[in-house]
Symmetry: C2
Subunit: 174 residues, 2 copies
DNA sequence: GATAATTGTTATCCACTATATCAAATTCCG
DNA sequence: CGGAATTTGATATAGTGGATAACAATTATC
Protein backbone atom coordinates (compact mmCIF):
# COMPACT_ATOMS: atom_id res chain seq x y z
CA UNK A 1 0.00 0.00 0.00
CA UNK A 2 2.75 2.42 0.80
CA UNK A 3 4.83 1.45 -2.19
CA UNK A 4 7.31 4.23 -2.81
CA UNK A 5 6.91 4.79 -6.52
CA UNK A 6 8.31 8.28 -6.90
CA UNK A 7 10.73 8.27 -4.01
CA UNK A 8 13.48 6.56 -5.99
CA UNK A 9 13.11 8.99 -8.86
CA UNK A 10 12.79 12.25 -7.00
CA UNK A 11 16.49 12.53 -6.28
CA UNK A 12 17.33 12.35 -9.95
CA UNK A 13 14.94 15.15 -10.89
CA UNK A 14 15.97 18.69 -10.11
CA UNK A 15 12.68 20.45 -9.31
CA UNK A 16 11.70 23.67 -10.94
CA UNK A 17 12.26 27.02 -9.22
CA UNK A 18 8.76 28.09 -8.24
CA UNK A 19 5.56 29.27 -9.92
CA UNK A 20 4.94 31.99 -12.45
CA UNK A 21 3.31 34.40 -10.02
CA UNK A 22 5.92 36.46 -8.25
CA UNK A 23 3.61 37.42 -5.38
CA UNK A 24 4.06 34.90 -2.59
CA UNK A 25 1.30 33.34 -0.49
CA UNK A 26 -1.66 34.71 -2.42
CA UNK A 27 -4.44 32.82 -4.13
CA UNK A 28 -6.82 33.65 -6.93
CA UNK A 29 -9.04 35.90 -4.84
CA UNK A 30 -6.37 38.48 -4.24
CA UNK A 31 -3.60 39.17 -1.76
CA UNK A 32 -3.26 38.20 1.87
CA UNK A 33 -6.32 37.36 3.90
CA UNK A 34 -8.16 39.69 6.25
CA UNK A 35 -7.49 38.77 9.85
CA UNK A 36 -10.64 40.51 11.11
CA UNK A 37 -11.30 40.25 14.84
CA UNK A 38 -8.46 37.76 15.06
CA UNK A 39 -6.07 40.70 15.36
CA UNK A 40 -7.73 41.78 18.60
CA UNK A 41 -7.97 38.32 20.11
CA UNK A 42 -5.34 38.25 22.81
CA UNK A 43 -5.26 34.45 22.94
CA UNK A 44 -4.44 34.25 19.26
CA UNK A 45 -1.42 36.55 19.37
CA UNK A 46 -0.43 34.94 22.65
CA UNK A 47 -0.28 31.54 21.01
CA UNK A 48 1.54 32.69 17.89
CA UNK A 49 4.05 34.64 19.97
CA UNK A 50 4.63 31.69 22.27
CA UNK A 51 5.41 29.43 19.31
CA UNK A 52 7.88 31.97 17.95
CA UNK A 53 9.61 32.41 21.29
CA UNK A 54 9.94 28.68 21.89
CA UNK A 55 11.23 28.23 18.36
CA UNK A 56 13.93 30.82 18.97
CA UNK A 57 14.77 29.28 22.34
CA UNK A 58 15.37 25.91 20.68
CA UNK A 59 17.60 27.55 18.08
CA UNK A 60 19.66 29.46 20.62
CA UNK A 61 20.18 26.53 22.94
CA UNK A 62 20.47 23.92 20.17
CA UNK A 63 24.15 23.14 20.86
CA UNK A 64 23.10 21.89 24.30
CA UNK A 65 20.05 19.98 23.07
CA UNK A 66 17.71 21.38 25.70
CA UNK A 67 14.00 22.03 25.35
CA UNK A 68 12.36 24.87 27.28
CA UNK A 69 10.79 22.33 29.62
CA UNK A 70 14.10 20.61 30.28
CA UNK A 71 15.78 23.95 30.90
CA UNK A 72 13.10 24.87 33.41
CA UNK A 73 13.63 21.60 35.27
CA UNK A 74 17.39 22.15 35.52
CA UNK A 75 16.81 25.70 36.75
CA UNK A 76 14.41 24.53 39.44
CA UNK A 77 16.68 21.71 40.60
CA UNK A 78 19.54 24.14 40.93
CA UNK A 79 17.57 26.63 43.00
CA UNK A 80 15.72 23.99 45.05
CA UNK A 81 18.01 21.16 46.09
CA UNK A 82 16.58 18.30 48.09
CA UNK A 83 13.10 18.30 46.55
CA UNK A 84 11.30 15.28 45.20
CA UNK A 85 9.67 14.62 41.85
CA UNK A 86 6.17 15.59 42.88
CA UNK A 87 7.25 18.99 44.16
CA UNK A 88 9.27 19.85 41.06
CA UNK A 89 6.62 18.58 38.66
CA UNK A 90 3.80 20.40 40.43
CA UNK A 91 5.69 23.67 40.43
CA UNK A 92 6.19 23.44 36.67
CA UNK A 93 2.64 22.32 35.94
CA UNK A 94 3.83 18.92 34.77
CA UNK A 95 1.76 15.89 35.73
CA UNK A 96 3.67 13.34 37.77
CA UNK A 97 3.22 10.48 35.28
CA UNK A 98 4.61 12.62 32.47
CA UNK A 99 7.50 13.82 34.58
CA UNK A 100 8.89 10.29 34.89
CA UNK A 101 9.94 9.97 31.26
CA UNK A 102 11.25 13.50 31.32
CA UNK A 103 13.53 12.73 34.26
CA UNK A 104 14.59 9.48 32.61
CA UNK A 105 15.85 11.52 29.70
CA UNK A 106 17.77 13.97 31.84
CA UNK A 107 19.16 11.22 34.04
CA UNK A 108 20.28 9.11 31.06
CA UNK A 109 22.29 12.12 29.90
CA UNK A 110 23.81 12.41 33.37
CA UNK A 111 22.36 15.88 33.93
CA UNK A 112 20.55 14.99 37.15
CA UNK A 113 20.11 12.01 39.46
CA UNK A 114 17.42 10.46 41.65
CA UNK A 115 18.48 9.63 45.20
CA UNK A 116 16.32 7.71 47.62
CA UNK A 117 15.38 9.86 50.57
CA UNK A 118 16.36 8.54 53.99
CA UNK A 119 13.37 10.17 55.66
CA UNK A 120 10.74 8.98 53.22
CA UNK A 121 11.82 5.98 51.22
CA UNK A 122 9.00 6.50 48.73
CA UNK A 123 10.31 9.73 47.34
CA UNK A 124 13.28 10.47 45.13
CA UNK A 125 15.41 13.45 46.02
CA UNK A 126 16.47 15.15 42.81
CA UNK A 127 19.93 16.59 42.41
CA UNK A 128 21.89 18.17 39.59
CA UNK A 129 25.07 16.37 38.61
CA UNK A 130 28.28 18.28 37.97
CA UNK A 131 27.62 17.90 34.28
CA UNK A 132 24.09 19.12 34.86
CA UNK A 133 25.37 22.26 36.56
CA UNK A 134 27.87 22.85 33.77
CA UNK A 135 25.24 22.42 31.07
CA UNK A 136 22.86 24.67 32.96
CA UNK A 137 25.50 27.38 33.23
CA UNK A 138 26.19 27.24 29.51
CA UNK A 139 22.48 27.20 28.74
CA UNK A 140 21.86 30.26 30.93
CA UNK A 141 24.57 32.11 29.06
CA UNK A 142 23.14 31.17 25.66
CA UNK A 143 19.63 32.13 26.72
CA UNK A 144 20.74 35.47 28.10
CA UNK A 145 23.10 36.52 25.32
CA UNK A 146 21.16 35.19 22.34
CA UNK A 147 17.54 34.52 23.19
CA UNK A 148 16.54 37.19 25.69
CA UNK A 149 18.89 39.66 24.10
CA UNK A 150 17.00 39.31 20.84
CA UNK A 151 13.73 40.01 22.61
CA UNK A 152 15.28 43.04 24.23
CA UNK A 153 16.35 44.27 20.84
CA UNK A 154 12.86 43.82 19.40
CA UNK A 155 10.86 45.35 22.24
CA UNK A 156 13.29 47.45 24.18
CA UNK A 157 14.22 46.59 27.79
CA UNK A 158 11.40 48.56 29.38
CA UNK A 159 8.72 47.07 27.18
CA UNK A 160 10.15 43.62 27.62
CA UNK A 161 9.87 43.98 31.38
CA UNK A 162 6.34 45.34 31.16
CA UNK A 163 5.38 42.43 28.93
CA UNK A 164 6.91 39.96 31.34
CA UNK A 165 5.02 41.37 34.31
CA UNK A 166 1.70 41.32 32.51
CA UNK A 167 2.20 37.74 31.39
CA UNK A 168 3.19 36.71 34.89
CA UNK A 169 0.10 38.41 36.24
CA UNK A 170 -2.12 36.53 33.81
CA UNK A 171 -0.41 33.24 34.63
CA UNK A 172 -0.86 33.96 38.34
CA UNK A 173 -4.23 35.64 38.72
CA UNK A 174 -6.30 34.92 35.64
CA UNK B 1 -3.22 -7.53 34.15
CA UNK B 2 -5.45 -4.51 34.36
CA UNK B 3 -7.91 -6.21 36.68
CA UNK B 4 -9.74 -3.49 38.53
CA UNK B 5 -9.33 -4.65 42.10
CA UNK B 6 -10.02 -1.45 44.00
CA UNK B 7 -12.32 0.23 41.53
CA UNK B 8 -15.40 -1.59 42.72
CA UNK B 9 -14.65 -0.69 46.31
CA UNK B 10 -13.62 2.92 45.89
CA UNK B 11 -17.14 4.17 45.49
CA UNK B 12 -18.15 2.68 48.82
CA UNK B 13 -15.32 4.41 50.67
CA UNK B 14 -15.76 8.07 51.49
CA UNK B 15 -12.22 9.50 51.34
CA UNK B 16 -10.73 11.48 54.16
CA UNK B 17 -10.58 15.29 54.11
CA UNK B 18 -6.90 16.00 53.53
CA UNK B 19 -3.57 15.64 55.32
CA UNK B 20 -2.53 16.78 58.78
CA UNK B 21 -0.37 19.65 57.56
CA UNK B 22 -2.47 22.74 57.03
CA UNK B 23 0.04 24.36 54.68
CA UNK B 24 -0.86 23.43 51.13
CA UNK B 25 1.54 22.36 48.40
CA UNK B 26 4.65 22.21 50.56
CA UNK B 27 6.96 19.29 51.17
CA UNK B 28 9.39 18.44 53.92
CA UNK B 29 11.98 21.00 52.90
CA UNK B 30 9.76 23.99 53.52
CA UNK B 31 7.22 26.11 51.70
CA UNK B 32 6.86 26.91 48.02
CA UNK B 33 9.80 26.46 45.69
CA UNK B 34 12.12 29.20 44.47
CA UNK B 35 11.42 30.03 40.87
CA UNK B 36 14.87 31.53 40.32
CA UNK B 37 15.63 32.75 36.81
CA UNK B 38 12.39 31.17 35.67
CA UNK B 39 10.59 34.32 36.77
CA UNK B 40 12.56 36.35 34.22
CA UNK B 41 12.22 33.87 31.38
CA UNK B 42 9.74 35.43 29.01
CA UNK B 43 8.98 32.14 27.27
CA UNK B 44 7.99 30.53 30.54
CA UNK B 45 5.44 33.16 31.54
CA UNK B 46 4.31 33.30 27.94
CA UNK B 47 3.49 29.62 27.96
CA UNK B 48 1.78 29.64 31.36
CA UNK B 49 -0.27 32.70 30.42
CA UNK B 50 -1.27 31.16 27.11
CA UNK B 51 -2.56 28.05 28.84
CA UNK B 52 -4.59 30.15 31.26
CA UNK B 53 -6.09 32.28 28.51
CA UNK B 54 -7.04 29.28 26.37
CA UNK B 55 -8.53 27.61 29.43
CA UNK B 56 -10.70 30.63 30.09
CA UNK B 57 -11.66 30.86 26.43
CA UNK B 58 -12.91 27.28 26.52
CA UNK B 59 -14.92 28.01 29.66
CA UNK B 60 -16.51 31.17 28.26
CA UNK B 61 -17.43 29.63 24.95
CA UNK B 62 -18.28 26.20 26.34
CA UNK B 63 -22.02 26.45 25.54
CA UNK B 64 -21.08 26.63 21.85
CA UNK B 65 -18.48 23.85 22.01
CA UNK B 66 -15.83 25.80 20.13
CA UNK B 67 -12.09 25.59 20.57
CA UNK B 68 -9.87 28.62 19.98
CA UNK B 69 -8.70 27.08 16.72
CA UNK B 70 -12.25 26.42 15.52
CA UNK B 71 -13.27 29.94 16.45
CA UNK B 72 -10.37 31.35 14.47
CA UNK B 73 -11.40 29.33 11.43
CA UNK B 74 -14.99 30.58 11.59
CA UNK B 75 -13.73 34.15 11.95
CA UNK B 76 -11.47 33.81 8.92
CA UNK B 77 -14.17 32.22 6.78
CA UNK B 78 -16.54 35.03 7.63
CA UNK B 79 -14.06 37.76 6.73
CA UNK B 80 -12.64 35.96 3.68
CA UNK B 81 -15.34 34.30 1.63
CA UNK B 82 -14.37 32.35 -1.45
CA UNK B 83 -11.02 31.07 -0.22
CA UNK B 84 -9.84 27.48 -0.35
CA UNK B 85 -8.49 25.18 2.34
CA UNK B 86 -4.83 25.85 1.67
CA UNK B 87 -5.24 29.61 2.02
CA UNK B 88 -7.21 29.44 5.25
CA UNK B 89 -4.93 26.83 6.77
CA UNK B 90 -1.75 28.69 5.83
CA UNK B 91 -3.03 31.94 7.30
CA UNK B 92 -3.71 30.23 10.62
CA UNK B 93 -0.44 28.30 10.65
CA UNK B 94 -2.27 25.01 10.31
CA UNK B 95 -0.75 22.37 8.05
CA UNK B 96 -3.02 21.29 5.24
CA UNK B 97 -3.16 17.63 6.26
CA UNK B 98 -4.23 18.58 9.78
CA UNK B 99 -6.79 21.03 8.48
CA UNK B 100 -8.79 18.28 6.79
CA UNK B 101 -10.03 16.65 9.99
CA UNK B 102 -10.68 20.04 11.47
CA UNK B 103 -12.93 21.00 8.57
CA UNK B 104 -14.62 17.61 8.74
CA UNK B 105 -15.61 18.42 12.30
CA UNK B 106 -16.98 21.85 11.47
CA UNK B 107 -18.76 20.59 8.37
CA UNK B 108 -20.34 17.67 10.21
CA UNK B 109 -21.81 20.20 12.63
CA UNK B 110 -23.11 22.20 9.68
CA UNK B 111 -21.05 25.26 10.57
CA UNK B 112 -19.31 25.49 7.20
CA UNK B 113 -19.31 23.75 3.83
CA UNK B 114 -16.85 22.81 1.08
CA UNK B 115 -17.89 23.75 -2.45
CA UNK B 116 -16.01 22.68 -5.54
CA UNK B 117 -14.57 25.65 -7.36
CA UNK B 118 -15.62 26.10 -10.98
CA UNK B 119 -12.30 27.70 -11.92
CA UNK B 120 -10.04 25.13 -10.32
CA UNK B 121 -11.74 21.84 -9.72
CA UNK B 122 -9.01 20.73 -7.35
CA UNK B 123 -9.77 23.27 -4.67
CA UNK B 124 -12.64 23.54 -2.24
CA UNK B 125 -14.17 26.95 -1.68
CA UNK B 126 -15.03 27.29 1.97
CA UNK B 127 -18.21 29.04 3.09
CA UNK B 128 -19.95 29.58 6.39
CA UNK B 129 -23.44 28.15 6.64
CA UNK B 130 -26.29 30.16 8.16
CA UNK B 131 -25.85 28.14 11.31
CA UNK B 132 -22.13 28.83 11.17
CA UNK B 133 -22.76 32.57 11.00
CA UNK B 134 -25.22 32.35 13.89
CA UNK B 135 -22.82 30.36 16.04
CA UNK B 136 -20.00 32.73 15.20
CA UNK B 137 -22.10 35.73 16.19
CA UNK B 138 -22.95 34.15 19.54
CA UNK B 139 -19.34 33.12 20.07
CA UNK B 140 -18.11 36.64 19.37
CA UNK B 141 -20.52 37.98 21.96
CA UNK B 142 -19.42 35.46 24.58
CA UNK B 143 -15.75 36.12 23.88
CA UNK B 144 -16.19 39.88 24.10
CA UNK B 145 -18.45 40.04 27.15
CA UNK B 146 -16.90 37.26 29.21
CA UNK B 147 -13.42 36.37 28.01
CA UNK B 148 -11.87 39.62 26.85
CA UNK B 149 -13.80 41.56 29.44
CA UNK B 150 -12.14 39.53 32.15
CA UNK B 151 -8.73 40.30 30.72
CA UNK B 152 -9.63 43.97 30.60
CA UNK B 153 -10.59 43.81 34.23
CA UNK B 154 -7.33 42.18 35.21
CA UNK B 155 -4.95 44.37 33.21
CA UNK B 156 -6.90 47.50 32.43
CA UNK B 157 -7.82 48.44 28.86
CA UNK B 158 -4.63 50.37 28.16
CA UNK B 159 -2.34 47.63 29.40
CA UNK B 160 -4.34 45.00 27.59
CA UNK B 161 -3.85 46.87 24.33
CA UNK B 162 -0.16 47.37 24.95
CA UNK B 163 0.18 43.66 25.69
CA UNK B 164 -1.68 42.75 22.52
CA UNK B 165 0.56 44.94 20.37
CA UNK B 166 3.75 43.53 21.83
CA UNK B 167 2.56 39.97 21.34
CA UNK B 168 1.54 40.74 17.77
CA UNK B 169 4.95 42.26 17.16
CA UNK B 170 6.69 39.14 18.46
CA UNK B 171 4.45 36.90 16.38
CA UNK B 172 5.18 39.03 13.34
CA UNK B 173 8.81 40.06 13.57
CA UNK B 174 10.59 37.75 15.96
C1' DG C 1 1.78 16.63 -25.09
C1' DA C 2 5.03 15.31 -21.54
C1' DT C 3 6.66 16.97 -17.14
C1' DA C 4 6.13 19.44 -13.04
C1' DA C 5 3.37 21.66 -9.59
C1' DT C 6 -0.88 22.26 -6.78
C1' DT C 7 -5.00 20.69 -3.98
C1' DG C 8 -7.21 17.89 -0.91
C1' DT C 9 -6.57 13.70 1.32
C1' DT C 10 -4.81 9.55 3.84
C1' DA C 11 -1.60 7.33 6.62
C1' DT C 12 1.77 7.64 10.02
C1' DC C 13 4.82 9.34 13.47
C1' DC C 14 6.27 12.11 17.30
C1' DA C 15 5.61 15.21 21.32
C1' DC C 16 2.73 16.63 24.89
C1' DT C 17 -1.16 16.07 27.85
C1' DA C 18 -4.53 13.47 30.77
C1' DT C 19 -6.53 9.56 33.45
C1' DA C 20 -6.63 5.16 35.76
C1' DT C 21 -4.12 2.00 38.18
C1' DC C 22 -0.43 -0.15 40.83
C1' DA C 23 3.18 -1.45 44.57
C1' DA C 24 5.77 0.28 48.13
C1' DA C 25 6.05 3.30 51.84
C1' DT C 26 4.07 6.40 55.06
C1' DT C 27 0.42 8.61 57.76
C1' DC C 28 -3.83 8.59 60.23
C1' DC C 29 -6.63 7.35 63.92
C1' DG C 30 -9.39 4.35 66.58
C1' DC D 1 -0.56 -1.66 67.84
C1' DG D 2 -2.94 -2.31 63.51
C1' DG D 3 -5.98 -1.62 59.76
C1' DA D 4 -7.56 2.02 56.48
C1' DA D 5 -6.39 5.87 53.80
C1' DT D 6 -2.81 8.62 51.59
C1' DT D 7 1.37 9.64 49.22
C1' DT D 8 5.11 8.68 45.84
C1' DG D 9 7.02 7.05 41.82
C1' DA D 10 5.81 4.39 38.08
C1' DT D 11 3.27 2.03 34.08
C1' DA D 12 -0.13 1.73 30.68
C1' DT D 13 -3.07 4.01 27.82
C1' DA D 14 -5.72 7.37 25.37
C1' DG D 15 -6.39 11.82 23.37
C1' DT D 16 -4.65 15.93 20.94
C1' DG D 17 -1.55 18.84 18.02
C1' DG D 18 1.86 19.07 14.96
C1' DA D 19 4.89 17.11 11.14
C1' DT D 20 6.27 14.39 6.92
C1' DA D 21 5.57 11.16 3.03
C1' DA D 22 2.77 9.73 -0.37
C1' DC D 23 -1.21 9.60 -3.56
C1' DA D 24 -5.04 10.76 -7.16
C1' DA D 25 -7.03 14.31 -9.53
C1' DT D 26 -6.33 18.51 -11.62
C1' DT D 27 -3.91 22.38 -13.45
C1' DA D 28 0.23 24.86 -15.01
C1' DT D 29 4.53 24.95 -17.56
C1' DC D 30 7.48 24.56 -21.45
Amino acid sequence: MTVSKTATLDAAKPPRPARKDGADGAGEGGGPLQMGELAELLGYSLKRAQLKVFEDFLRCVAPLQLTPAQFSVLLLLDKNPGRNQTEIANTLGILRPNFVAMLDGLESRDLCARMRSTNDRRSHILVLTDKGRAVLARAKKLVATKHEARLDELLGPANRLALLEMLAKIAREF
